[in-house]
Amino acid sequence: MDGKMTDREDGGMGGRAAETVKGAPAVRADGAPTDPADAAGTAGTADLLKVENLKMYFDTPDGLVKAVDGVSFTLNLGETLGVVGESGSGKSVTAMSIMGLVPMPPGKIHGGNVLFKGQSLITISEKDFQKIRGNNIAMIFQDPLSSLNPVYRVGKQVGEGLTIHKGYKKKQAFARAIELLDLVGIPNAAERARDYPHQFSGGMRQRAMIAMALACDPEILIADEPTTALDVTIQAQILELMQSLQKRTGSAIIMITHDLGVVADMADRILVMYAGRPVEYGTTDEIFYQPLHPYTWGLMRSIPKRTAGDKEPLTPIKGNPPSLINLPAGCAFSPRCPYAQPRCHEEGPVLVKLAGAHASACHFSDDPAFLENSPLHDDEDADTVAPGAVAGMAAPEGADTRRGHSDG
């Protein structure tokens, strides 16, 4: 069904377009990523979230699917971790494992740990986990219908967490739900709170789900492809909303996406996954400007870019991602890696920290000669026009511009 066509309210809403996303600050103070040192410095306590060598396998009729096979990272308040990788690389299973939402069986934890403020979410009882889920840690999904129940009013669902976790009475929770819907930019929130999910357009459902996730002021928000199904102008609204809310509440975000533009925009650090394993981890600038792993190089080279003037062939990664049941011997990326050596087909590389926290799982990431192969060393043409990078484009007068220019 095309919500935009059948939802008559939308037509009317266009006319009331002047409303802004409430509470969004005029300008993001500074585009620079959070300095990890700052974040660590403020908390003398345990990390907010620590994922240690997490392994989640699925027992299937075809064999053992090693969906997540040794993922580690830490996350602190105010930080955004971007998780990227091709479909099937284990991003969603990683998120669902942290949330304790993987059905077991067929899933089984084969090792590792998830620590929330030092407490293990792997050994925790389901009863105790329910106090954390939706309260301290909340999740938003690509498909809002997966978390919105069609038979309850949107307002009731948005406020539900407050009655469960914060002792709100039903009426109070509904009133707060209206405020939250307003906060995420739903026009006429008081009326729309009485609607059922199908009466909302796709973009509005996504916002309602964000409102629901934010109801209890979670310290961690896990967003699994939250804008993949949305158009870019709605995506821009949602990303802006998440950034402004993070600024206000200081929550940490795990942003799962296959869109390198979205992580360039949102993330402080990036985890690159391939075939269930982390292949590179670093700050956003490290991943984009000093990538170490040939898979990351391949992703970067696959992005359509264009030098002003003429078409240049892209450099795709050859072949397809492997089956997680029969992983290639040695490095899982070796059959597709243009730089693979005999050693790569025999011996699996481990994720090694190379500079600070910047880590890569390639045998040759510490070899300067090998790193010459990085896209950094491709013929750089100063005239490259990145998609949508409109040089010196001024916002039309009166436009609602929410991002300042930071010149360095």
Binding site: P33, R306, P316, M393, A395, A399
Partner: protein
């Protein structure tokens, strides 16, 4: 000298919709495409971008005559094909083909890929059986598939390979034009790059003309010679690709381009995002005057009264706005 293959003039497409009883029996229409005109030169690629529901697929389906336009002309290689019927329409189908977004849904799971690719040849009674098999093997090779896999079924292939099968099928009748409707939208970036390279090289080899529909502006920028931007059934701006991306003049194009995050953190941090408020209005009762006027950051009173024409504001650059932003020096 310009050698135009396709010229649309004042194309309209309305769809009748049945409202529920509560809302009365009055017949209503979705104005899916309204007064669209553009030309594509032979051997070139025109990119068509816009948000979902803006009418891109409807234009594509009108051109290859999967549906009948409500009014307007579609001049294809010197003939108006907008109202072709019967035998003439059948013959026209050789000339213009389509590749769809979802290779999974557009391939019959019970047909081998050999049958899928040869079907158009069978329908158009082209060659003997042996000749068709040879042709299919050649086509599979052309799109980078193993011709020995001719008897396999679509589910045995990955998403990127299935898209190659769809392309091979579209090529079977040696068309002049291929409408590519979001052909890489469902693919991961690394696989997407493979398919884009294939489309580029096929065009160079076979002199194909593409109408390339997508919502990914990076992909469109890569593949297109000219780009047209759609909003709610209308073309708001069209220009050669570099001009459109470097100096957009229509407020909608500007906000659309500003909304895409650039995969370059340093560039992204310096960009201003023009956030449009609200959502796209319904095409059942589109706004009067300029269809963008309800969301336009620079709209004036005139905008909701008078519809702006798509007019040439500099050579090759057309914009449908009463107040196009000034050229950036």
């Amino acid at each position: 000298m310009a050698d135009t293959l396709l010229k649309l003039s004042h194309l309209h497409k309305d769809f009748a919709v049945n409202r529920s009883l509560l809302q009365g029996h009055r017949k209503r229409f979705v104005s899916a495409v309204s007064d669209v005109s553009f030309t594509i030169e032979r051997g070139q690629t025109m990119g068509l971008v816009g948000e979902s529901g803006s009418g891109k697929s409807t234009i594509g389906r009108c051109i290859i005559r999967l549906i009948n336009p409500t009014s307007g002309t579609i001049d294809f290689d010197g003939h108006d094909v907008a109202s072709l019927k019967g035998r003439d329409l059948f013959n026209f189908r050789r000339e213009a083909q389509i590749v769809f977004q979802d290779p999974q849904a557009s391939l019959n799971p019970r047909m081998t890929i050999g049958e899928v690719v040869s079907e158009p040849l069978v329908i158009h009674r082209t060659g003997t059986k042996a000749e068709r098999i040879a042709a299919v093997k050649g086509l599979l090779e052309t799109v980078g598939l193993n011709p020995e896999h001719i008897n396999r079924y679509p589910h045995e292939f990955s998403g990127g390979q299935r898209q190659r099968i769809g392309i091979a099928r579209a090529l079977a009748l040696k068309p002049k034009l291929i409408v590519c409707d979001e052909p890489v939208s469902a693919l991961d970036v690394s696989i997407q790059a493979q398919v884009l390279n294939l489309l580029d090289s096929l065009q160079a080899e076979l002199g194909l003309t593409y109408l390339f529909i997508a919502h990914d502006l990076g992909v469109v920028q890569h593949i297109s010679d000219t780009v047209a931007v759609m909003y709610l059934g209308t073309i708001v701006e069209t220009a050669p690709v570099n001009l459109l991306y470097s100096a957009p003049r229509h407020p909608y194009t500007q906000s659309l381009l500003s909304a895409i995050p650039v995969p370059d953190p340093k560039v992204q941090r310096t960009r201003s995002r023009i956030i449009l408020r609200g959502e796209v209005p319904s095409p059942i009762d589109p706004p009067s005057g300029c269809r963008f006027s309800t969301r336009c950051p620079v709209a004036q009173a005139r905008c909701s009264q008078e519809r702006p024409d798509l007019h040439e504001i500099e050579p090759g650059h057309f914009c449908a706005c009463h107040f196009p932003s000034p050229t950036t020096p």
